[in-house]
Subunit: 111 residues, 2 copies
């Protein structure tokens, strides 16, 4: 097999898994960090910044766009990518809801 059994899990669990994939590759983390710093940028910058081929970066950008965490607007020949603040907040909240489910560390000395 090799297929994730999506139907076995809740909507929230699947949503978190999809969002987490945005951060599950260092190149995508680097792209996100670059967008955060630049507060808008273009694909070409990223090819310079990271050491990956143009096709590879374009592919990562598409994945991030599919997840919704970034958005791009055509700007002449170039495409300006930036963080989608609404989706960003959504993902941030989703993760924080999970993170905050662990009370104070002292109460969890089970093993």
């Amino acid at each position: 097999m090799g297929v994730t059994k999506t139907d076995l899990f809740s909507k929230v669990q699947n949503n978190i898994a999809v969002a987490a994939k945005a951060f599950a590759h260092p190149a995508r983390v680097a792209i996100i960090e670059h967008l955060l710093r630049a507060n808008a940028c273009i694909n070409g910058d990223l090819v310079q910044e990271l050491g990956l081929a143009q096709a590879t970066i374009s592919q990562h950008l598409r994945e991030l766009k599919d997840i919704g965490i970034i958005q791009g607007t055509i700007d002449g020949v170039r495409v300006s990518y930036c963080i989608n603040p609404v989706r960003w907040a959504e993902i941030k909240n989703q993760f924080n809801q999970l993170f905050d489910q662990l009370e104070s560390p002292n109460t969890n000395d089970c093993c």
Copy 2:
């Protein structure tokens, strides 16, 4: 090809990517949520809870253990797994540092 070029990215970027993988599969999210609820639990419970084979769950548990987000102690025939609170806090902080890099949404209307 097909190999992540780890050396191209910073330590922090790689660390985030590794940590994110813990959440990048719904089964692992489900396991983590179960551990948070139960505040300790055993593999057998999870086989009941999720609909996956014992071998598959054991594999996910190992991945989570490798990431360090959970820990297991042998308890007779069984193994008690629980969240590693120290690593949990570490990952939480790592993500929050990233999440908080986006200022107020209004300042980011670049595209």
